[in-house]
Symmetry: C2
Subunit: 234 residues, 2 copies
DNA sequence: CATTTTTAACTGGTTAACCAAAAATTATTG
DNA sequence: CAATAATTTTTGGTTAACCAGTTAAAAATG
């Protein structure tokens, strides 16, 4: 089954139009932090779009912390000023979907940090989780089967042990696309999988021994191929 | 106007319940990548929740790249395997809201990279944007007014110039909460704002001169207070 | 019987009516 | 006239009916 992405551009377009209109409204009416936006009904009426579309746009701005909806009360402008509001909405409207290179670049940055933090902060439960992920990866890789998923679950287990919820969330958001791209571009082949077992084990041992610098170095080694691949793309 | 956060826990709870049920369904029915999920109507019927709730849950899983909805066709399991699917849903269900320390820690990590990339990749337009943000900050800070917003817009302009869409998005997602926390904890006081002008200018000059290492160093200096603040929290 | 055409059922998305809680307004009361 | 109580209006959230496109089944055709 092939997954098409036809309607997304249309959907984003109308959503972005509404977001821009909300921005204009905030500016025109000089709405300050904490002020109430017109009701969803009024907005859908004013903008001549469906209330669902208005709700979706509000939800997106809520995700970025710019608005806050309160049931049976209203939608409110967040406690950031008009300047930041305008700047951020501008950026949100221009956001492009992440390319592979940008994803990998970010992943390497994040993981060199999470592995360090994991070595510093991990508790015994974290260690067990990481070990389980490592074993699952090893089992799959030794069989010569595709182990991209188990690979990334190992890395996610480390991110979890870093005790940094923001980095953990970020890792979660980029992982699915990375898996898809990896399988698409065949980034990981068989012999790399076996090589990966050793590298993973070394990373695990460094975290277990609570040696942050060593853990980071081992992760760096592990990423060397990916690093080159990433920067050879363009 | 005070913004309460009462309903969120309830909303998340029911949404997470549905996500867990979708996970169980995928496992029970052995749905593989590309397979079609039962229709929203069937799910809302089976789970005994409203179709809106089902749609919201699907939307969240879509955000994390685990599902894909196609109009007039169905909702499909993404091209990642069951192992990654289970692991990621597990993590998503356990995701906690980001604490201030985790936000700042992540921000410092991201910005030490984006400023480097910006120095390497910035074009003339990027430079103009950064300069404008710098001037706006300077004007506000010299007047002794609160310039937290202009401060962060300067940093967002750098993130934009880094030409890494993923990091740019991540910076956007954490910025509003950082602004709110900064104003809440009064992280930036008056004399720091004036000191900030010099630091911002130095960062700008390094980016202009396309000296990545210098830019990173200047950003590090700029963050030194914040860094200490962050790690003194606990 | 294979192939094409037509029809019916099903899909996610949209719309409009409805709900309960919160605000705002009006009426009542001391 | 101020303070309280009752009522109406307004709100985001929910529900159910509807829409247009897709998909699968059935019928027609050679």
């Amino acid at each position: 089954m092939k997954l098409e992405v036809l309607t997304i551009s249309d959907n984003r377009k109308i959503q972005n139009t509404i977001i821009a209109k909300i921005r204009d409204l905030i500016n025109y009416k000089n709405l300050e932090p904490g002020d109430k936006l017109p009701s969803e009904r009024m907005l859908s009426d004013k903008f001549e779009v469906s209330r669902s579309n208005v709700r979706d746009a509000i939800q997106k701005l809520e995700f970025y912390g710019l608005l806050k909806s309160i049931p049976q009360s209203g939608t409110f402008v967040a406690n950031i000023g008009v300047v930041a509001m305008n700047g951020m909405i501008e950026d949100i409207l221009r956001l492009e979907s992440p390319d592979f290179k940008s994803l990998v670049e970010t992943r390497i940055l994040l993981e060199l940090k999470t592995v360090r933090l994991a070595a510093l902060r991990r508790n015994d439960d974290d260690l067990i989780n990481i070990k389980e992920a490592l074993d699952a990866y090893e089992a799959k890789a030794l069989l010569g089967e595709d182990a991209v998923q188990e690979d990334l679950l190992f890395h996610l287990a480390i991110a979890k042990a870093s005790r940094n919820s923001t980095m953990n969330t970020f890792m979660l958001t980029i992982t699915p696309q990375i898996i898809i791209d990896f399988e698409k571009y065949h980034v990981c082949d068989k012999d790399q999988a076996v090589k990966g077992i050793k590298e993973h084990t070394e990373i695990y041992e460094a975290i277990k021994a609570q040696k942050p610098d060593l853990a980071k170095e081992k992760m760096k080694d592990h990423f060397s191929v990916l690093y080159q691949y990433c920067y050879s793309l363009k």
